[in-house]
């Protein structure tokens, strides 16, 4: 075992040439997803004759669409780094946006409604994390269960219909959160940049600091990489996991704000299947379902990749089924390339050897 490792050609770290810097940069885990995203974007740009794809409007639209997936996917990234998974995030998102819509409809005012929405998300995450930590049941099963529970709760809140609170109850910022562009320069005190992008960037930055610069963040990686080692090192595993799922829940609630802002209504059905889009963004972004690996930038790129494909396929005049098929193939290809880079499967190894 040791032989095969020592034999790998090692980049000499002492030689700090510009080429070496480039190579080290390329070895970063999040470079793959970013390159994949750029590659796919380049492809659609190259075949687009009308110049529509790369137009500022379309780029902003893609960014806005990506943000709706990226924000909850950021929370999922943390969960996946910690070695977990959250299948309930889709229906939890629907529950959050249902609570938001219900409170707005009942004219509690947006501060109360938004707080209730965020608290619902936190509660969902706390429930997931608490059950997982206390019982030791695998996250897949626990969140499969809560997925159904949250769906039921969302249906209770919405009375199995679609809630559409009056426009007057929606504040300007919530109205604009999922919009592709900001208002024209400082008009009525609103910012000129797309608000949703700013919130997304801020959330990603904060999460990045937590993951890479704090004790808590290092513990998340340690737990995902080897839970028993983490315990041996005195890390409060249960508490940390609970916190991780709670953060996940908070990001789901944030995602619910985007979702609501986008469609201006809420129903329990909206959330079904969303969790798979979040997981897809994390996985395209270099996250490992075995835990211990995942990247903020990667996840952002993963969500953007999905948005680019969606837009590009429409530009090509293809229908929505094509989008699903292409996205599916890209997920497998992205993860496959990443895997082959580190550990090529036997048949490929043999092919190369011949």
């Amino acid at each position: 075992m040791s032989e095969s490792i020592s034999s790998r050609p090692a980049a000499d770290p002492s030689r700090r040439t510009s080429l070496g810097t480039l190579l080290r940069l390329l070895a970063r885990p999040d470079v793959g997803p970013v390159l994949a995203m750029l590659l796919v974007a380049f492809f659609f740009w190259a075949i687009d004759s009308g110049g529509v794809f790369a137009s500022p409007t379309n780029v902003r639209l893609m960014l806005a669409n990506a943000a709706r997936i990226a924000v909850p996917a950021l929370g999922m990234t943390v969960i996946i780094i910690a070695g977990g998974i959250d299948l309930s995030s889709g229906t939890a998102l629907a529950l959050c946006s249902s609570v938001l819509a219900k409170m707005l409809e009942l004219e509690f005012g947006w501060p109360v409604a938004v707080t209730a929405c965020l608290l619902t998300g936190v509660g969902c995450g706390l429930l997931n994390g608490g059950i997982i930590s206390l019982t030791g049941i695998v996250p897949f099963v626990v969140t499969l269960g809560t997925m159904s529970i949250f769906l039921g709760l969302a249906n209770l809140v919405t009375n199995e219909t679609s809630l559409e609170p009056p426009r007057s109850s929606i504040p300007w910022w919530l109205n604009d959160l999922a919009a592709a562009r900001g208002s024209s320069l400082g008009f009525e005190g609103k910012p000129w940049f797309p608000l949703g992008l700013a919130v997304e960037g801020l959330a990603a930055l904060l999460l990045g600091i937590v993951l890479y610069a704090t004790v808590f963040g290092r513990r998340i990686f340690a737990i995902g990489s080897n839970e028993r080692t983490a315990r041996l090192c005195g890390i409060p595993v249960g508490l940390t996991k609970t916190a991780v799922y709670t953060i996940g829940g908070l990001f789901v609630a944030l995602g619910a704000l985007y979702q609501f802002s986008f469609i201006k209504q809420a129903s329990a059905r909206d959330g079904i299947g969303l969790e798979l889009q979040f997981i897809a963004a994390v996985v395209i972004g270099g996250g490992s379902l075995n835990g211990g690996r995942g990247s903020i930038i990667g996840t952002l790129a993963g969500a953007m990749l999905a948005a680019i494909i969606e837009s590009g396929v429409v530009q090509l005049g293809l229908k929505s089924p094509a989008k699903s098929i292409v996205l599916g193939a890209v997920i497998i290809a992205a993860v496959g390339v990443d895997r082959f880079r580190n550990d090529p499967p036997d048949w490929l190894r043999r092919l190369i050897r011949r």
Partner: protein, 544 residues
């Protein structure tokens, strides 16, 4: 045995030529000449050659990273050689993969057991070689075959329908051997087969190896334990840095020469004694019990002391360490550090100076996917942070200093620990205790699976720690190491401590006798114990 020494080695000129001419065993089963393997332009194995005759047992020894595993992988079909050739029964042998090698009669018993735990014994033995007609299993025929093979191995009473997960490690290993036998293997490769076995199981394994040899099966045996090699093998081949540096008959070499050719220099002081002063009591255990053992342990650990814990596997040694660390809750009794009770939380115990190295590097000791930096500092991240924010540069500086002082061979502190060799991984695990500034160090089999040179480094480190006034509790199954490094040795048996004495009052036999329970049969049992058995073994010894 005839060897093909590489031209650069003159070490085995001691080989008597008479052996070649008069070899009564006739033609070799497996022969290799000039084997080489390169990865990414570097040759990790070069110019290795040997002949292996029916019933012969050849030891492959060398430090970690010397190329043993690569050689075994070539022989078992996991890798393809880039140079040289092999013949099996005089015909060219170039297996495409392990299944091909097995089909042709070369079987590998893996260090990491490779069974499907949820399948039955029978299914595991026949895995990949199922008896069937058009895809339909011929259960009756399979079961007959499995029973037959198990009986040969002396496990005739094992029910083939049992799930493998329910069986002990040693029985699982037997199932792997049974798989090889069922495939009519004529060459069986063992890679560190005793590393996870208890002493009685080791004896049983050796008996099985004797049985195999009596049936004409040739054995290739990798081990770090020279005592074991002498018990099992008659000839040897030493690898160092991928090259064959020595080979010959074990009966005509001594351990000193073997170790010298393995490490490339004389290991003068294998157990370096660094003077250290034993001071006042630090850790006190009073009637400490845990549900699954240990039971009623009374023990003190003093400042600057190395306390050894001996005993058979399953005697409760690991459980004792885990209870001290807080990984398993104590059910009764008390645990005091400097006269004050220790709280239940692991973090609290780490803060008061406790630290542990797990016996299982892979599944507990280290987070293999994470870099050295993370692993080394994980035990006390708070030391490298202010208000929850990490002080990156201080953490890196400390880790770099530790990597240097522990002489960890790596590309840099950002290299994942999983890419290091076993010995270097263990150094990282020990470095973590240094980063924690642990004062009570609980070490569970700290030198298991580690090469000779690294072992000596670790012993020196333990002595240095003790001389700094740190206390060390070391669990080990390797008696020479306990006798060579400890100040006192406690022996455990069936979850209890049966004796604690200064090291001068212990011998290997006495420890074994105490570990077995001192029921009179101890000296008899001890004489058969592998670590205590210096006698070279000849191939025509009677199989048991």
């Amino acid at each position: 045995m005839r060897t093909d020494p590489p031209s650069r080695s003159s070490a085995d000129s001691s080989q008597p030529p008479a052996v070649r001419g008069d070899d009564p065993r006739g033609k070799p089963i497996l022969a290799a000449q000039g084997l080489g393997k390169q990865f990414g332009g570097t040759w990790v194995l070069e110019e290795v050659g040997f002949d292996l005759h029916p019933g012969e047992s050849l030891a492959i020894v060398g430090e970690n990273g010397a190329g043993k595993s690569t050689l075994m992988k070539i022989l078992s079909g996991a890798h393809r050689a880039d140079a040289g050739r092999m013949t099996l029964d005089g015909r060219p042998f170039d297996p495409a993969d392990p299944a091909d090698a097995l089909a042709r009669g070369v079987a590998m018993i893996y260090q990491e057991l490779s069974l499907a735990p949820d399948l039955s014994v029978e299914d595991n033995v026949m895995l990949g070689q199922e008896r069937h007609r058009f895809g339909w299993l011929r259960r009756g025929e399979q079961r007959r075959k499995v029973r037959e093979v198990l009986a040969v191995l002396g496990y005739g009473d094992l029910d083939p329908r049992r799930r493998v997960a329910e069986l002990s490690v040693s029985v699982r290993q037997m199932i792997e051997i049974a798989r090889a036998l069922a495939a009519e293997a004529r060459v069986v490769i063992f890679d560190e087969p005793t590393s996870s076995l208890t002493l009685p199981d080791v004896r049983r394994l050796f008996a099985v190896i004797d049985t195999l040899r009596a049936r004409g099966v040739a054995i290739l045996y990798i081990s770090h334990f020279l005592e074991e090699v002498r018990r099992v093998c008659e000839s040897y081949l030493v690898l160092r840095d991928g090259r064959q540096v020595d080979s010959g008959e074990l009966s005509s070499t001594d351990d000193r020469r073997l170790v010298a050719s393995m490490v490339g220099r004389d290991v003068d002081e294998f157990f370096p004694r660094i003077p250290h002063e034993v001071g006042e009591d630090r850790l006190t255990l009073r009637d400490l019990s845990s549900i699954d053992g240990p039971y009623d342990v009374n023990l003190t650990v003093r400042r600057g002391e190395i306390l050894g814990i001996a005993g058979l596997v399953g005697a409760g040694r690991t459980e004792l360490l885990r209870a001290l660390m807080g990984l398993e809750p104590a059910s009764s009794g008390s645990l005091l550090l400097d006269g004050k009770p220790l709280g239940a939380s692991i973090a609290g115990r780490i803060a008061r100076g406790l630290g542990m190295v797990s016996e299982d590097r892979k599944s507990e000791g280290l987070a293999l996917g994470l870099p050295i930096l993370e692993n080394a500092t994980l035990g006390r991240l708070r030391r490298f942070s202010r208000g929850g924010l990490l002080l990156g540069s201080e953490r890196r500086r400390t880790t770099e200093r530790l990597v240097e002082s522990f002489r960890v061979r790596c590309r840099g502190i950002d290299q994942p620990v999983g890419e290091l060799s076993g010995g270097n991984q263990q150094k990282v695990a020990l470095a973590r205790l240094a980063a924690q500034d642990a004062e009570i160090l609980l070490l569970d089999e700290p030198t298991r699976g580690i090469d000779v040179g690294t072992k000596a480094e670790i012993y020196r480190r333990l002595g240095a720690w003790a001389s700094e006034g740190r206390s060390i509790v070391m669990v080990s199954s390797y008696l020479p190491e306990l006798l060579g490094t400890c100040d006192r040795i406690a022996v455990m048996s069936r979850g209890r401590i049966v004796a604690v004495r200064p090291v001068a009052e212990w011998t290997e036999h006495a420890i074994l006798a105490a570990a077995i329970g001192g029921d009179g049969s101890s000296s008899d049992a001890a004489s058969d114990m592998p670590p205590a058995d210096p006698r070279p073994h000849s191939s025509d010894g009677p199989p048991r």
